[in-house]
């Protein structure tokens, strides 16, 4: 399925993407002391796509607030090495200095991910079953097993509770196709390949409204 199928959500037009990307690539990160710069970089560069505090407004850009610190470090390194690729994010990561990564990860992981609200309640209801039970027939493990109650995440298992639905659905499809292949143990590729379109859309819809409790 294509992004255009995600009817009820705002999709940024390509123009915005390009402007944001160009804006970012043209940017040379200032300063020398990395730790002090994390806030500056966040407030001048990352904010364009990931929003204030890492809570992006545009649903195809992930919220990065409250992600596990180690997970953020790993993703930024993977974008830089090419283990994970994104036309938009890879050039941004490439422009970072290696010593910027840890402070940025510390900064964003200390922010709080702000949940949204599910639009399609029926889908979210089915998605909840997928999240809590998986699918015994096809061997989809319950997401809660690794991503924990309310999707808060744990160590290498990132927070997914509160994340944008279109982003989640997109990642699941990239895992299934192998376009994203930086997952530990190949876990997510194995799981996404077993899921139906309906399961993917529904679980994504369920995750939107999950709040930490």
């Amino acid at each position: 399925m294509k992004d255009s199928d995600i009817r009820h959500r705002f999709k940024p037009d390509n123009g915005f993407l390009k402007i944001a990307a160009i804006m970012t690539m043209g940017w040379t990160f200032p300063g020398t002391s990395a730790a002090a710069d994390a806030h500056t970089i966040a407030a001048t560069v990352c904010i364009a796509c990931h929003g204030d505090d890492g809570n992006s407004v545009i649903p195809t850009f992930p919220k990065i607030a409250g992600l596990q610190e180690g997970y953020i470090v790993k993703q930024l390194r993977d974008f830089r090495s090419g283990a994970r690729t994104s036309e938009v994010m890879s050039p941004v990561a490439a422009a970072l200095k290696p010593e910027d990564i840890a402070p940025l990860a510390a900064y964003y992981s200390s922010r709080k991910m702000k949940p949204g609200e599910a639009v399609d309640r029926e889908a979210a209801g089915f998605g909840k079953m997928v999240y809590l039970d998986g699918n015994e027939e096809s061997g989809v493990p319950a997401c809660i097993g690794c991503h924990q109650a309310q999707g808060v995440g744990y160590l290498i298992y990132p927070r997914i509770g509160g994340q944008h639905a279109p982003y989640v659905a997109h990642q699941m499809k990239d895992f299934a196709s192998g376009d994203r292949s930086n997952d530990f143990g190949r876990f997510m590729r194995a799981i996404a390949r077993r899921m139906t379109e309906e399961e993917i859309q529904s679980v994504a819809e369920y995750l939107v409204g999950l709040d930490e409790r």
């Binding site: 493990p141 097993g145 690794c146 143990g185």
Partner: protein, 219 residues
């Protein structure tokens, strides 16, 4: 991919291989040999068990439907042997393979997980059989199974005999069928002999009985 294919090829060739050379059911592979010698660390095992929770549940109670077995309270030796058998392809389960292969679990982690699981309490709210087979199942069990699986279904850690009490009914039934029909290749040959003459209705009765057994007291 290779690792995934190999067991399948082995299975395809199995009938001819079986004639040539019957493996000893408890002749464990390198991985298990190593894991059995390691003193498992339950705390580390709890963390290593996270990827298993999506199917076997956080408390390792499995699913009452029997789709996934209960692992809590099972003997560590049995768990180590079964996990290693899955890794080496002696026992095959495609659903679990991506989460338990050698690419994610080494001998230390296997020992840790086994030690953690062995110490977990056993839930008595397992998936039970219909109850109608219990008296016949009791007779059959006392005659053919008790010698290895024990009076209370407690099994035997030293001999790698699994605890079968309070396991989910559908899982027990499925395994009993697989073992009878020669489809679970790591089975004990004496057990295969004992269960070979069983009709499906006998298996249902004895599985019913085992599923109703209370969780054995463990020291």
């Amino acid at each position: 991919m290779n690792r995934f294919l190999n067991p399948l090829i082995v299975v395809a060739l199995w009938p001819s291989v079986a004639l040539a050379q019957t493996p000893v059911w408890n002749q464990v592979g390198e991985q298990a040999k190593n894991a059995l010698q390691i003193k498992g660390d339950a705390a580390r095992g709890a963390a290593a068990f996270v990827p298993c929770q999506g199917c076997h549940r956080k408390d390792a109670s499995g699913r009452t439907s029997g789709a996934y077995p209960r692992l809590s309270g099972q003997h560590a030796t049995v768990l180590i042997k079964q996990i290693s058998d899955f890794q080496s392809g002696r026992r095959i389960n495609q659903k679990m393979e991506p989460f338990i292969g050698e690419h994610v679990l080494n001998a230390f982690e296997i020992a840790d997980i086994a030690s953690y699981l062995q110490g977990l309490p056993i839930s008595a709210t397992n998936g039970k059989g219909p109850g109608s087979g219990v008296s016949r199942g009791n007779e059959l069990y006392k005659k053919d199974c008790v010698e290895c699986h024990g009076s209370w279904g407690e099994g035997n850690a030293e001999k790698f005999y699994p605890m079968v009490a309070a396991q989910h009914y559908r899982y027990l039934l499925r395994q009993a069928q697989l073992i009878r029909d020669g489809d679970r290749r790591n089975s004990n040959p004496d057990m295969v002999k004992a269960i070979k003459p069983y009709r499906d209705s006998d298996l249902e009765a004895v599985a019913d009985y085992m599923s109703q057994l209370a969780p054995p007291d463990k020291k």
